[in-house]
């Protein structure tokens, strides 16, 4: 079955969505991300959507649930690379991606993940490994 690859980069997982998503692919991705967080003890998940030319409420919902599931597993999620036309359309559609952190690009997303993990460590939260 077709699947969206998940790359491990240090403490983070990187997912680049390059295909137009249908239901089964989205469901498989949710399962794969949560499995990978547990298996690799990742602290952060970055989802690159720069290749997506549209985000509808289904894809928005999927991004939201990946962020929620990751949070429950103690990993932060950041969505990066949204195209301007997609952002304009999302807002008009009424989708605010509540609970999903966003950054302009992969570099900014990486900074965001790093700083939130450092903040957690400084607050004395339990750190894995």
């Amino acid at each position: 079955m077709e699947r969206i690859p998940i790359l491990k980069m240090g403490k983070f997982l990187l997912i680049t969505i390059q295909v137009d998503m249908h239901d089964r692919l989205a469901m498989a991705l949710q399962n794969d991300v949560t499995d990978m967080i547990v298996k690799t003890r990742a602290h952060g998940v970055m989802i690159d959507i720069s290749m997506l030319d549209m985000v509808d409420s289904f894809i928005g919902r999927m991004l939201g649930s990946i962020a929620s599931m990751s949070r429950v597993l103690d990993a932060e999620t950041v969505v990066v690379g949204m195209q301007p036309a997609v952002a304009i359309t999302l807002v008009e559609l009424g989708l605010s991606l509540t609970g999903v952190r966003t950054a302009l690009n992969v570099d900014k997303g990486m900074e965001l993940l790093r700083s939130s993990i450092e903040r957690k460590e400084a607050n004395g939260a339990v750190v894995r490994d």
Binding site: D53, S57, I88, T89, L95
Partner: protein, 137 residues
């Protein structure tokens, strides 16, 4: 409002929704829609086609027409299903209304993304929604 091209696709699965999006995008590019207008009509189409699967009895079709009004081009899409129909259309158009556990942005959201939105629905017979988005001049 004379029309030039009429095409139709059937919607039975989420793969059909993905294919329909690509089809609408190609037509929108073909008649010269800018990127934001393309994205809006494709996103509205995606919401309404998904509605057919989730609420419209799981099967229906989408018809596409390239329409012209005062030398301005537009895309008109008609979504038709023979599902259970919508009893209270006004309520269904409100944000947050959902009968399938989703975000409930489908109808109202799609309406905001287009210039014209018409809906006709009869309980037990089905629903027909027509949307039109005009090109910026």
């Amino acid at each position: 409002m004379p029309s030039s091209v009429t095409e139709s696709v059937s919607i039975r699965s989420s793969e059909d929704v993905v294919r329909m999006r690509q089809w609408v995008r190609a037509r929108a590019i073909g008649i010269g829609f800018n990127l934001v207008d393309q994205t809006k009509i494709v996103t509205a189409a995606s919401e309404l086609a998904r509605n057919i699967i989730e609420h419209g009895g799981g099967e229906g079709h989408v018809q596409l027409e390239v329409v012209t009004n005062n030398s301005r081009n537009g895309i008109q899409l008609t979504f038709e299903d023979k599902g259970p129909g919508i009893a209270d259309i006004e309520q269904a158009l409100k944000d947050g209304f959902t009968s399938a556990g989703g975000l409930g942005l489908g109808l109202g959201g799609a309406k905001r993304l287009v210039n014209q939105f018409e809906i006709a629905s009869h309980v037990g017979e089905g629903t027909r929604i027509t949307i039109t988005r005009w090109m910026h001049t």
